[in-house]
């Protein structure tokens, strides 16, 4: 019983931390970009203020799936945070490892797609179509990278991968995984959906794409989800390639550095067209990831 309570406490703490970090990143992003563009920018707590405001606003719904989809998507994001070790914390460490993570990651776009599919707005449909194409684009190198890591450490458990790195050093600095790490760095903007890969939302073209029909609490949930996604994408990279961390503080620091670099990319680039993005993702990152996997297979 006591174990149960500790477990539940850990789960709640983990979700809370993930949310706070994610939402902090959202606020920080706006600040960084504002400063690069010589503006003052909103306060760093702006996303939280927005969420509270949005929950109090009225909203419109297109049907049951419209409600259910966004909840499913957010559930996927939150559950996923339980599989990712943060420091020593990883509440669901023994439930399937990285393979389950790959699959739960599917729930996020799928739920969103189902929800905005029912919205019956062509902008939303175009946005989803782009989301899936983009995801297919970055999944090709990403899967190669994941497989390189799993093959190199000969385990599918992400906790074990972190543990081995604490003895042997970061994956990014170990020679067999170097190319995979570089490929990961090249595709991270696409996973995070920042420029030049903000094709899915593209506010000026398709009015925020999948989110076009959202308002009020839907938009609030979508923002929360965005925060979690930010956390997941960065945490996965830090765990797999930057050795995770012994304590949450150090872990956060690592995430912050990665995050900052991508905000610089985000601030100066223009948006790709979807074909350009696909061609980019299937060219250099894929080649690098492929070479990385071949090296790993040979050295094993």
């Amino acid at each position: 019983m006591e174990l149960m309570v500790i477990m539940i406490f850990k789960i709640i703490l983990m979700i809370f931390l993930a949310f706070i970090i994610g939402i902090f990143f959202l606020g920080l992003a706006r600040k960084i970009i504002a400063r690069i563009q010589w503006r003052y920018g909103p306060p760093i707590t702006q996303p939280i203020i927005d969420i509270i405001k949005l929950f109090n606003q009225g909203s419109m719904s297109h049907g049951v799936l419209f409600n259910f989809g966004i909840i499913l998507s957010l559930t996927g994001s939150i559950v996923l945070t339980l599989f990712l070790p943060m420091g020593k914390m990883c509440p669901l460490s023994s439930s399937g490892g990285l393979l389950v993570i790959i699959y739960i990651m599917l729930l996020i776009p799928l739920g969103m797609a189902l929800s905005s599919g029912e919205a019956a707005n062509p902008n939303a449909s175009i946005g989803i179509s782009r989301k899936f194409i983009l995801a297919l684009g970055y999944e090709v190198p990403l899967l190669l990278i994941f497989l390189a890591v799993m093959t190199h450490y000969d385990t599918i458990s992400i906790v074990k991968i972190v543990k081995i790195q604490s003895n042997t050093g970061w994956s990014l600095t170990s020679l067999p995984l170097l190319l995979s790490g570089i490929a990961y760095i090249l595709i991270l903007p696409a996973i995070l959906g920042v420029r030049p890969f903000d094709i899915v939302k593209a506010p000026q073209e398709i009015s925020s794409g999948p989110m076009v029909e959202y308002g009020g609490k839907f938009l609030a949930l979508a923002t929360i989800q965005h925060a979690f996604n930010e956390f997941i994408a960065l945490s996965l990279f830090v765990n797999l390639f930057l050795g995770g961390a012994g304590n949450p503080g150090y872990f956060f620091l690592k995430m912050l550095v990665v995050f900052f670099i991508y905000q610089l990319v985000n601030a100066v680039f223009l948006r790709f067209r979807i074909e350009q993005a696909l061609k980019y993702l299937w060219k250099w990152p894929t080649l690098l990831a492929l070479a990385g996997l071949i090296i790993v297979v040979i050295t094993n």
Partner: protein, 618 residues
């Protein structure tokens, strides 16, 4: 005795149903359902029984016909009987009012009976007889709709016949060498066979089974046949009939040849099972991407079937206990979710009269239950956690990665991403988006159509959360073939290199989902609005222009289409055209003019006389 009775009920029931149909349609329908449900019940009670009976001594030496049952054939028999019973229940309203319904029921039940016969066969003569009954009755069902279906059926039966001829060569060679065709006796003989001979047997049988299970490059018949057949039969065809090929593969790999012989065939990188794994991977990737391009709902599912067969081939031929269990589990899973999806397309077609993905949309409001089951089926197909497809795929991936074959795993995972794209397109274009004006008065599918789909959807979730139920049975089969036993629990699989616990995942998703739903409910209630009440940046768009379905993944199509031509099908069609040309030129001899025929006779006689004069042969 019980196995004989089972087959007598199956075949006799088909005949009686047909005859009853001549008298009254209602009694025929009842009889069809009762017979198939009776089969389900009998087979359920056969669980964990292994028996063997000779039902015909035969006139040739050592060729007595044998029926046998063990866990391996039981698993297939139960899948066959359940899926076929459900598809018959679905047929009740689907086929009502169409022509030749008696014939339809007869053929449906014949296919089912012959498939049960195949899995119960204890020797290859019985096996071959039932195999041919299955092939031919399936041919008659595929071409049931006439028109384009006739061509599809022809393609199917030509490939099937070539396949079964290859298999016949294998069977005859086995008989010539060992003087018996009894499966258990053969497996004892084959342990000492030379590897060249084993390879010969594997290839001859493999062509036969490969055509049936539609692995690349023997897949060309499947997309046409699946899309042209009546929907309930498409469900049987994709759900279980193509699995007969897989049954054959497992039989030949692990019963006849045996695990040890099978794995050592060939050297390390060019070993037979490793090459077969690559065949499986190609069968996953290419068809899954071709499926994204399809606009016909059933054709999309047909290509997806080939892709999913690839996972099964990959799993069973990889030769580890986890891989074998995953592949075998995927057989059942694919039978469940693909049957469900085909039935759902049947229901949509029944109500709207079309299955063109470009002219549907918004049906979620009109057919909510059909949508829900399709959603579950699609999640199963993708392999979303908490569905059965996830567990089987997880097992296959895990063994591929841990045995050091990341490239195989990569392509298998890539196939899953393609699956997301095409299943979402499938769901979106049928059920989401704008409802067409002509579909505004569509009713829900009748209950006899919904019931089979609901049962299948329930099975997807049940096996997804408690995968231990089928996995325990599969584990018994695996160990009987000489695989290491897996540590199977009701909630998944435990091991040092990564445990799967579906119940944990389920609890996490459930609790968090419910909490979020409560938060959602607690917030201000949202107003329900009309489908045309949409944000369009201040412009008013005409209603019929408000749907985005045609060329759903257009930017992707432009990039991948040039690479995704079905060269193999083109090649077969080229062969068939050349043969036709040749036949036409041969036909010129038969001009129909009696004068020519007399000339042929004269010339032939002249030749004979010439030969006799010259060489004096006679």
């Amino acid at each position: 005795m019980i196995l004989e009775t089972l087959l007598i009920i199956a075949f006799g029931g088909a005949l009686i149903t047909y005859l009853l149909g001549k008298i009254s349609k209602k009694t025929r329908n009842i009889s069809a359902v009762v017979v198939l449900l009776a089969l389900v019940v009998i087979i359920t009670f056969l669980y964990n029984i292994s028996s063997k009976e000779i039902f015909y001594i035969g006139f040739l030496k050592n060729l007595s016909l044998v029926l046998r049952i063990n866990t391996f054939s039981w698993l297939f028999a139960i899948t066959i009987s359940v899926v076929s019973a459900l598809s018959i229940i679905f047929s009740l309203s689907y086929i009502k009012g169409k022509e030749r319904t008696n014939f339809y029921y007869l053929m449906m039940m014949l296919v089912d009976a012959s498939m049960i016969g195949i899995v119960l066969a204890g020797d290859f003569v019985t096996f071959y007889i039932f195999w041919e009954i299955m092939s031919w009755s399936a041919f008659l069902l595929i071409s049931y709709n006439r028109g384009a279906a006739l061509a599809a059926g022809m393609k199917y039966i030509i490939m099937s016949v070539i396949g079964s001829m290859a298999m016949l060569i294998g069977i005859l060679s086995l008989y010539a060498n060992y003087g018996t065709l009894n499966i258990s006796e053969l497996s004892a003989f084959m342990t000492s066979a030379s590897s060249v001979y084993i390879l010969f047997i594997l290839i001859t049988f493999g062509i036969g089974f490969g055509v049936k299970s539609a692995i690349i490059p023997l897949h060309a018949w499947l997309p046409d046949a699946h899309s042209q057949a009546p929907s309930p039969f498409s469900a049987v065809l994709s759900g279980i009939l193509i699995k007969m090929g897989i049954y054959g593969f497992i039989l030949i790999f692990y019963v006849i040849v045996g695990l040890k012989n099978f794995l050592v065939l060939g050297s390390n990188w060019s070993s037979f099972h490793y090459i077969l794994c690559w065949v499986g991977v190609i069968t996953i990737v290419i068809p899954s991407f071709i499926a994204i391009l399809q606009d016909d709902a059933k054709r999309l599912l047909a290509w997806s079937s080939i892709g999913q067969i690839g996972y099964i081939i990959l799993g069973i031929s990889f030769g580890t206990s986890l891989g074998f269990a995953g592949g075998t589990f995927h057989i059942i899973n694919h039978a469940i979710f693909k049957a469900l999806l085909f039935l759902a397309v049947g229901a949509v077609e029944y109500r709207t009269g079309t299955r063109d993905l470009n002219s549907l949309g918004g049906l979620i409001k009109k057919m909510p239950i059909t949508f829900l089951v399709v959603l579950i089926g699609a999640f199963g197909l993708i392999g979303v956690p908490l569905t059965n497809g996830f567990v089987s795929k997880w097992m296959i991936y895990k063994t591929l990665i841990l045995e050091g074959h990341p490239f195989l795993a990569f392509f298998a995972l890539l196939g899953t991403w393609a699956a997301i794209l095409y299943t979402y397109k499938f769901i979106h274009n049928i059920f989401l988006g704008q409802l067409q004006e002509k579909h505004e008065n569509i009713k829900r599918a009748p209950f006899s159509m919904q019931l089979p789909m609901i049962i299948l959807a329930f099975a997807i979730i049940l096996f997804g959360i408690l995968p231990g139920i089928p996995l325990k049975i599969i584990n018994t089969i695996g160990t009987s073939f000489g695989f290491e036993s897996l540590n199977v629990n009701i909630w998944g699989i435990a091991s040092d290199t990564g445990t799967l616990n579906t119940v944990n995942i389920f609890m996490a998703i459930l609790v968090i989902g419910v909490i979020l739903w409560l938060i959602f409910k607690a917030a201000r209630k949202s107003v329900k609005i009309n489908q045309y009440d949409n944000y369009a940046a201040g412009f008013s768009i005409p209603k019929e222009k408000y749907n985005y379905t045609v060329n759903f993944y257009n930017p992707l199509y432009r990039i991948i289409t040039p690479y995704l031509k079905d060269f193999i099908d083109d090649f077969y069609m080229w062969i068939s055209r050349e043969i036709k040309k040749m036949s036409v030129s041969v036909r010129r001899i038969y001009s129909g003019d009696i004068g020519y025929y007399i000339m042929y006779i004269m010339l032939f006689l002249a030749l004979l006389i010439f030969v006799q004069i010259k060489w004096n042969l006679w």
